[in-house]
Amino acid sequence: MQPQEITKEPDLIKKCQNGDSAAFADLIFPHRENLITYLNRLSGNKTTAEDLFQETLVKVWSGIKKYKEQNKFSSWLFSIAHNVALDSYRKIKNRKYTVDVNEITDLSSGSNPHSDYVSKEIELQLEKAIETLSKKQKEVFLLRMHGNMPFKEIAKLTGEPINTVLGHMHYAVKKLKLMLRNENVK
C-alpha cells in the first residue's frame, strides 16, 4: 500500500459509512490483489477465489458502518474474507478444496540455485509447497503473510489458543523451508 493511500483510508471509510460506493471502490482497490491472492491460495481455485472476493465485498460494504478505527482496516478486511472462505468451505466440506492442475505451471525444469534475485522457479516451488500445508497451517500462514495480522488477532479470529496458532505457523514454516532446501539441493 502506498503512503498516500494510508492517509486517505480514514476519509474513505467515513465516506463509505455515508453510503458512497465510489469511495468503497477506492478503499478496497489497494488491497484487491493481496486479497484475491490470499483467497486463491486458500481455496486453490481462481473461480472460487473470485466468488469469495465478491462475497467478501458484499459483507464489507454491509458492515462498514460497524467498523471501528481502533482496528487496522486490512486486518478487519482479511478477517471478513477468512470467515467468508470458512463459511464456503463448510458448505462444501464434502468436497475438499482442490488445486486446479491447469492453473499450476509445469515445474519439470530444473531449479536454479538461489542468487541475488528470487527466481521464478523458487517462487513457483513455494506456491506449490503452500498447497501441501494442512488447512490450519495454510490459514495461519496466509493470514499472517497477506493480512499482516499479529498472532494474537489470528488466535482471536480462529478461536484457538495463541500457542496452537504459533504451533501451526512453526510447522508451516518448517515444512516450507524443508521443501525449499530439497529443491535447492537438486
Binding site: S21, R32, T37, Q54, V58, K65, V118, L126, N163, L176
Partner: protein
C-alpha cells in the same frame, strides 16, 4: 552446553514470530537479544524466517485488472443494495436493516422460541375442566353448592321412592301369588269332593 543450546533453539522456534512482531514483554525481548548474540543457531533461525517471509512476499500477487475489479465492486454494491431495498420494502416500521435482520438476533429469537416450545411440552398441563369448576365455584360458590346439595337430596329421594315402590310391588306380587295359590287349592279340594260324591 549442547543440550542447553538445543533447548534454547526449541524455545525460540515457538517464540520467534512474537519476537519478530515485538509482541513479547520487554524483559523477554532483552533475553532473546542477548541469547541471539551468544548463540549463532538462534541468529540462523531468525534469518531463515526473515528470508522465507521476504521470499514469499516477492511472489507476484494474482493480477486483478481494474476493469474486472470495478465490475466485481459494482456487483457487490448492487447485490447488497437489492437486499436492503427488499428488506426495506417488507419492513412496515422502516427500522434499519441491521436492526431487524441481524443474524445474532435471528439466532437468539429462534433459540428463545425453541426453548419456549420445549418448556411447554415438558411442563404439566393443568386440567381445564377442574380449573373451570374451581373458577365457577370461586365466582358463585354458595349458589352452586346449594344446587349441588339439592340435586343430591333429590337423587336420594328418587332412590328411596323407587325402593319403596319396588317393595310395595314386591309385596303385592307375593300376596297375589299366595291368593292365587290358595284359590287353586280351594278349586282342587272342590274338585276332589265332587268326585267322591259322584262315586
Amino acid at each position: 552446553m549442547l543440550n542447553n543450546t538445543k533447548h534454547l533453539v526449541e524455545q525460540f522456534e515457538r517464540e520467534v514470530w512474537l519476537y519478530l512482531d515485538k509482541d513479547l514483554s520487554p524483559e523477554r525481548m532483552q533475553f532473546w537479544n542477548e541469547k541471539i548474540v551468544e548463540h549463532n543457531e538462534l541468529q540462523l533461525l531468525l534469518d531463515e524466517n526473515k528470508k522465507l517471509t521476504e521470499l514469499y512476499k516477492n511472489i507476484p500477487l494474482n493480477e486483478f485488472s481494474e476493469a474486472r475489479y470495478s465490475e466485481v465492486v459494482s456487483q457487490a454494491v448492487k447485490k447488497r443494495n437489492t437486499i436492503s431495498a427488499f428488506i426495506q420494502k417488507i419492513n412496515p416500521f422502516k427500522i434499519e436493516n441491521d436492526r431487524i435482520l441481524s443474524p445474532v438476533k435471528i439466532a437468539f429469537g429462534g433459540a428463545m422460541a425453541a426453548a419456549a416450545i420445549v418448556i411447554l411440552l415438558l411442563s404439566n398441563k393443568p386440567n381445564p375442566v377442574k380449573n373451570l369448576s374451581n373458577e365457577i365455584l370461586d365466582w358463585n360458590s354458595e349458589e352452586i353448592s346449594q344446587q349441588i346439595s339439592e340435586m343430591s337430596t333429590s337423587i336420594s329421594l328418587i332412590k328411596d321412592e323407587n325402593f319403596k315402590e319396588f317393595l310395595i310391588d314386591k309385596r303385592s306380587k307375593e300376596k297375589l301369588d299366595r291368593d292365587i295359590f290358595s284359590i287353586s287349592n280351594g278349586i282342587q279340594k272342590l274338585k276332589e269332593e265332587l268326585e267322591d260324591k259322584s262315586l
